[in-house]
């Protein structure tokens, strides 16, 4: 074979070689910014998340007087039901949780304008929302949403967020933008409502029935995050953002009550994971048979900055240390903490499609318990839940035990537990 060197066609850049290189680099960046900032969009994926957030804010804007706002990842709308809590506490309620990948700084920044003295914010934040790092926060789906649609909020965030938002788009994002825009243009019918439910006026997820649930121990195991260490929670960038919000809220007369997200009970968790806390790869392929469009949030959640070895260190022997670390995020900054007697733990049959999403009957049951626990903290009487919803809650597996514990809650405030 004829030996050839690296240049088949003689290319001999002269003095203009570097000039051409610089021009190409600038053109590339300009084109990229123009395309993703003004032309391409992802109406089915990011648009879905943005609409959830906007709908919650719009509802909050219509409420005069004190209100309860639930902010979290997707465990907020899936596992909490303002439709139940509002009549039980006789307090307007907005379920403002969106997705775990949405940066807390963005979430809190958007909500600040709608929070007023006398409002109560309940934060059943998910583990990863405490441990998430700075760059993963900066690269969540909200970065793309802001760069395309919400420059004012982006401008209010830290400068490193600006650069991260500019570079939030990879090749797949570009191709998916074209696909999603094309699908919307041809009238694509979004199948999510039929397969996993939809949202009601309060912002709660509804229709995620037992019949539609896609869970099994294998599915839950595939999606179960290993427990974070107390140190990872305490030192997490996300924990700092939450603490900052608690401080801001206190200064503005807003009460912040921390809580635990709904999660698998220890027995179910141990049964799934066994002595190993790492997720078995064999089970990862058994993903839930539910239709999901929101891939961006999943990708964002798969970018932990804390190393796997750090987060997967068996901390199950020290759940109290982990709990104390979570409580401290609120209590040390002027917030309160509400610990339900069941620690928001449920058996695997109570979950819908992930280890954080209760199915609808259990969502209602959990909300009844939560409302009963919140009532004394807020100085309100806990009224009876709506009859139809209360009946639905009875279908939640293990509900009898859970409901009987509803009165036994642990309240923490002002640094004492």
């Amino acid at each position: 074979m004829q030996h050839r060197t690296d240049v088949i066609r003689p290319v001999t850049p002269g003095a203009g070689g570097f000039r051409r290189l610089v021009c190409a680099a600038l053109a590339s960046l300009g084109l990229y910014a123009l395309l993703f900032g003004a032309v391409l969009d992802r109406p089915l994926d990011l648009g879905f998340l943005a609409r959830q957030l906007d709908d919650g804010l719009a509802r909050a804007a219509t409420i005069r007087g004190p209100k309860l706002v639930i902010l979290a990842g997707s465990n907020g709308p899936y596992s909490h039901r303002c439709q139940v809590i509002e009549p039980m506490l006789d307090l307007p309620c907005v379920n403002g949780g969106v997705a775990i990948g949405i940066g807390q700084d963005y979430l809190f920044m958007r909500w600040r304008a709608q929070l007023h003295p006398g409002d109560i914010v309940y934060l059943p934040m998910e583990q990863q929302q405490y441990t998430v790092g700075r760059s993963a926060t900066a690269l969540g789906p909200d970065a793309a949403i802001m760069f395309r649609h919400d420059w004012p909020t982006l401008g209010e965030l830290a400068p490193q967020r600006w650069l991260a938002a500019l570079f939030a788009f990879d090749l797949r994002a570009g191709l998916m933008s074209v696909i999603e825009m094309s699908l919307v243009a041809v009238g694509f019918h979004d199948p999510r409502a039929e397969t996993s439910g939809t949202r009601n006026a309060w912002g709660d997820h509804v229709g995620h029935t037992v019949a539609r649930a896609g869970t099994s121990p294998a599915v839950l195991a595939a999606m179960l995050a290993p427990p974070a260490s107390a140190a990872a929670i305490r030192d997490g960038y996300g924990a700092g953002l939450i603490a900052g919000f608690v401080v801001w809220a206190r200064a503005h007369g807003v009460r912040v009550i921390g809580g635990l997200p709904t999660q698998l009970d220890p027995a179910a968790r141990a049964g799934i994971l066994g002595p190993e806390t790492l997720v078995p790869e064999a089970l990862r392929s058994a993903m839930p048979a539910v239709e999901r469009l929101s891939a961006t949030s999943r990708r964002a959640t798969s970018r932990p900055e804390v190393s796997r070895s750090e987060t997967s260190r068996p901390d199950t022997a020290q759940p109290s240390a982990r709990l104390a670390a979570i409580e401290a995020v609120y209590l040390r900054h002027g917030g309160e903490f509400l610990l339900l007697a069941n620690h928001s733990h449920y058996p695997s049959a109570a979950f819908f499609d992930t280890p954080l999403h209760l199915n609808e009957p259990c969502q209602i049951a959990h909300s009844i318990m939560l409302a009963r626990a919140l009532a004394p903290m807020l100085g309100r009487a806990a009224l009876a839940p709506p009859v139809a919803l209360s009946a639905a809650a009875a279908e939640c597996p293990g509900i009898a035990g859970a409901m009987s514990l509803a009165q036994g809650v642990s309240l923490s405030a002002g640094g004492s537990r």
Partner: protein, 517 residues
């Protein structure tokens, strides 16, 4: 240190090149080479300094052997020189064999034996072959029958093959060490001929910065970086999903299996050709020209053509230092077939100590034998496949052979091949079957294809679009080295922002596939 890491691009590279040119300006070429050698060792030791003595020892021993063989051939002591050559090659293969194949051979012989737990030192496959080539070339040049390349011991490197007077001054230890350890090719090739590179390293103008070389080298490097970060890593995520599922015994349907294999074919091409482009670009910045390593291999019209285009430097090594010494095509068709098969089996084994690599090599050996038979028969009967059909058939054969190469084991290979053959059925997302109900006749509607991409509703169009883009690039566009300067500028414009995005904002830097070989 990875070429695709910010610390390499923003730290190591400018420091190394800056020091190289500065040392050249202040103290001359030898000082620049010395600086380069130190930088090379830092580059190598960055991964694990524990193996630096192995690299240094290997270079020292081989240089000593080379000098000795050179002296013996000058003194016309060919027999002794041959003995030392055999010793040298055995030494290199022995070291490689210990680190790379000891566990494999042990378990082949005694499956129940505990693993030796030997860690494969980075780049050992490459620097071993590089130095075997050096020893053989010296011997061949010394005895006047280089036959396949110029010898490595001659300072100027000029003149016809094998015609170098053996009395010319030998290459210096510094030049030799800088050649073997030269960071652009140290870790994963290309496997370059000593006679092609040593004269360049000893050129008096080596360490003078040349704007044209810097600009061209940087451009090629950035285009290679884009291939790796933007294309290879994207396709790698798709391939990983499918092959991981196969290795865990998950049943893959037709689309899941084919998409995983097609994605892997693109991943390995963009990954390794991207690496090679980066190596070529880096060397060019230091005024050294490397040979081409990939020449649009998926455009090959037959399997022999594929091997003239894929990993060219390895193909040449296998041809010149294994196939031809085995007898090549000089001893009849049967022996040619045996030689082809042996060469490809060993080529497969070079990639890794596993039966799957041997199967890959065996498949390619079989392909080459079939191709020879077809070429012979077709020539006699005047049969010839139409070009596009020949290309499609070649591509199909190459893609199928990637299955054992990538799969974790025999079971995963069989599982993947079953899926590709349609034995596990043909499933499509319900959304698509709903849009085209006629598809329900042939496809089983499922909520999502679980082993495709991120397993969400739009994964099928997403992966399809990515694969379409990738295959359009490899099948219709010229490769980086065929592009004009203007076209390279357009290619950079199209991809540099994505490259920067992946370089600085991707969650982690995926290592090059060939690092593990």
């Amino acid at each position: 240190m990875l070429f695709n890491s910010p610390e390499f691009i923003l730290g190591y590279l400018p420091l190394t090149l800056g020091g190289f040119f500065l040392a050249g300006r202040l103290y001359g070429t030898r000082a620049a080479l010395a600086w380069l050698l130190v930088a090379d060792l830092v580059f190598y030791g960055w991964w694990n300094p524990r193996y630096l003595p192995l690299l240094v020892g290997s270079v020292t021993v081989n240089y000593g052997l080379g000098r000795h063989i050179h002296r013996l051939t000058r003194a016309s002591r060919t027999r002794a020189a041959r003995g030392w050559l055999i010793s040298g090659v055995s030494f290199n293969l022995g070291v490689l064999g210990w680190f790379k194949y000891a566990d494999f051979l042990l378990h082949a012989a005694a499956p129940q034996a505990p693993a030796l737990g030997i860690v494969l030192p980075l780049a050992i496959s490459f620097f071993t072959f590089q130095q075997i080539m050096f020893l053989v070339d010296i011997f061949r040049a010394g005895v006047g029958r280089a036959g396949v390349g110029r010898a490595g011991m001659d300072r100027e490197g000029a003149g016809p093959v094998g015609a170098e007077p053996a009395s010319r001054p030998a290459v210096s230890a510094l030049s030799y060490a800088a050649f073997v350890c030269f960071f652009p090719h140290l870790i994963a090739g290309p496997i370059v001929r000593p006679a092609d590179i040593l004269p360049q390293l000893e050129a008096s103008r080596l360490a003078r910065p040349v704007a044209a070389n810097l600009a061209a080298g940087l451009t090629i490097f950035l285009l290679g970086l884009g291939k790796k970060l933007v294309l290879a890593d994207t396709f790698g995520s798709f391939a990983d999903t499918g092959f991981a599922a196969a290795s865990h015994g998950t049943v893959l349907t037709l689309i899941e299996a084919w998409y995983a294999v097609l994605a892997y074919a693109l991943q390995i091409y963009f990954d390794f050709s991207g690496y090679s482009d980066m190596a070529i670009g880096l060397a060019r910045m230091a005024n050294v020209r490397f040979p081409l390593n990939f020449d649009s291999p998926y455009k090959a019209r037959d399997i022999a053509d594929f091997w003239r285009r894929w990993h060219i430097s390895l193909s040449r090594f296998l041809r010149d230092y294994l196939y031809i010494p085995l007898g090549g095509n000089r001893q009849g068709e049967v022996r040619r077939g045996v030689n082809l098969m042996l060469t490809m089996l060993l080529g497969g084994l070079w990639h890794g100590a596993a039966w799957t690599f041997i199967a890959w090599g065996g498949l390619h050996g079989l392909y080459l034998i079939v191709h020879r038979l077809w070429a012979g028969m077709g020539g006699r009967l005047g049969l010839r496949l139409p070009g596009p059909l020949a290309q499609a058939l070649t591509l199909l054969a190459v893609v199928v052979a990637w299955v054992p190469f990538r799969a974790d084991g025999v079971a995963a290979t069989i599982g993947m091949l079953r899926g590709m053959a349609g034995l596990n059925g043909f499933a499509l997302p319900r959304m698509i079957v709903g849009a085209w109900p006629a598809l329900a006749e042939i496809a089983r509607p499922v909520p999502v294809l679980l082993s495709l991409g991120d397993a969400h509703t739009l994964s099928l169009p997403e992966v399809s679009a990515c694969l379409l883009l990738g295959w359009l690039i490899v099948l219709t566009l010229p490769h980086v080295h065929e592009l004009s300067e203007r076209a390279r500028g357009w290619a950079l414009t199209a991809g540099l922002a994505f490259t920067a995005q992946a370089l600085f904002f991707a969650p982690y830097a995926a290592p090059f596939l060939y690092f593990r070989f």
